[in-house]
Amino acid sequence: MPKLRGLREAIAEEIEDGMSVFMGAALESLIPFAAGYEIIRQRKRDLTLMTTISDMQFDQLIGADCVSRVCGAWVGNVAAGLGHNYRRAVERREPAPLAVENHSNFSMALGLKAAAMGVPFLPTRTLMGSDFREEASFADVACPFTDENLLAVRAVKPDVAILHVQRADEEGNAHVWGNLGVTQDAAMAAGKVVLTCEEIVPHEVILSDPNRTLVPGFLVAAVACVPLGSHPSPTQGYSRRDDDFYFDYHAQSRDRAGFDEWLERWVLGVDGHDGYVERLGGERVARLKPDGDHMAAPVSYGY
């Protein structure tokens, strides 16, 4: 099967009910919102969503009843506040009960790193004295050399990591820049990687700057070209953050009926990602373009 596929096919063929799916790896930027919307359209069920900070995306998937478990450090709407669907699911089991496994950002990163390194845990000094260290992901461990007491973080191995990146070639070799969060750790930890990207570039472009390559493409199962695929989150060099979109969602999702209307307008009632971009409108899309280039100085790989 070719790796380069449409978003619809990539989600249909790579994401199965019951999987654990890592998203939001860069924190508040490069969130694969378009892939999340497609998961909702295809009515995937019983997913375990994993993240460090999930800015609004997990709230949408929880409200759309795709999720039975969340494993992460923070679920809500970063600029606007609490996640209403997250609250309804945890507090009132609406639309369905939701299990939560709590991490901090660092402990999640360490869990991914352990899986990426192929070891069962990593030791840390963080979270000593926090109540959530009592959860199953953590255990006391003594240093074998100094006897010092440390915290062990169990490896976190998602079935799939979905990542949005700036550019990739047809084999899934991807360039990504800006803040990386746990992007590389998630890609290395996951059973497979599904990429969405702003543009598909020739293989030679990737080879021209190997320090910028996320992971070797052989870890990538599928890549889909989805310009604006991180909207409303930003993609450095391609699109700004659509702040209003977050505030509007926060206001509309306050009650269940408002969320259902939001979902119909932006996800279920549009024809895939193209329909979503059409609904955004040309003026809004134009406003999201960066005001200008902020070019890096070129580097020489001369030899």
Binding site: E28, S29, V78, N105, F106, N179, L180
Partner: protein, 271 residues
């Protein structure tokens, strides 16, 4: 080299609409946060008021401070435009260092970050913070969780807590410890092996609070102009002690106020 210069100047505030010396309580909180940052320090900045505090400190008394963001960004000058999240593009362009979360947290864990700002839904008399859930079992309210706050609370050289002062938020004992302060008091951090120094101050909308060096209990260090000790006590759900040398929070200077408005020209965070 032209390519690495900033593409846009900062937007400068229209000051004519607001008298410079008429400051808001939030502006005072930002200025108090800025005063906590010493020159040359490496600071986990966070968002909203502390982010502005970092910009003000850089502008005035701490030009060599470095701001650290857990998304994987280090900056030696403030973001190029007002931002809503630490991953917004103006906070990345012109950064000193972009990396992964493991790298910035490793700087923290290895003792190379002097200070971090944190907040929460609840704080207690020993500076423990809760951002997981509040309410009793019949009606629990689920909050977003730790993010990186618990890591900063555990590992930073010292922490400054910043939050609105309300009786339901200033409680004798938090229901859930997300970000540990001094636990149940003296010696607790040492017993539990927390490497960081713990909270040095709390900045609230009513005053500034220190922690008694012996008991590690929060105490009023200064009350903001226009606020009384009694008002602060009324908005605190335990018998809050008063530091022996309690005083009024120093009024912001004109330079401090202008610096806040340079970075929050429309009062998005401080009005």
């Amino acid at each position: 080299m032209e390519a690495v210069e900033a593409s846009r100047p900062f937007r400068i505030a229209t000051l004519s609409l607001r008298k410079p010396m008429d400051y808001t309580r939030r502006e005072l909180m930002v200025i108090a946060a800025a005063r906590e940052i010493r020159d040359g320090e490496r600071v986990f900045v966070g968002m909203r008021l502390p982010l502005l505090g970092f910009a003000v400190a850089k502008e005035l008394h701490a030009p060599n401070a470095i701001g650290i963001f857990e998304s994987g960004v280090l900056r030696d000058w403030p973001a190029l435009e007002p931002i809503f999240t630490m991953s917004d593009p103006p906070n990345v362009a012109g950064a000193l260092f972009c990396c992964g979360l493991i790298e910035v947290m490793s700087l923290l864990q290895s003792g190379r970050v002097e200070m971090g700002f944190i907040g929460g839904a609840e704080v207690d008399c020993h500076g423990n913070l809760n951002t997981h859930w509040v309410g009793d079992d019949g009606r629990r309210l689920r909050l977003p969780g730790s993010g990186g706050a618990a890591d900063i609370a555990t590992l930073a050289g010292r922490c400054v807590i910043i939050m609105n002062h309300e009786r339901r938020r200033f409680v004798p004992r938090v229901q859930y410890v997300t970000s540990p302060g001094y636990g149940d008091g003296a010696g607790w951090r040492e017993r539990h092996g927390l490497p960081g120094g713990g909270p040095s101050r709390t900045i609230s909308s009513l005053g500034i609070f220190s922690f008694d060096p012996v008991t590690r209990e929060m105490q009023i260090e200064s009350y903001h102009p226009g606020v009384t000790v009694q008002e602060i006590r009324d908005e605190t759900d335990w018998p809050l002690k008063v530091a022996p040398d309690v005083t009024e929070t120093p009024e912001p200077s004109r330079d401090e106020i202008l610096a806040v408005r340079k970075y929050d020209p429309e009062g998005v965070w401080t009005s």
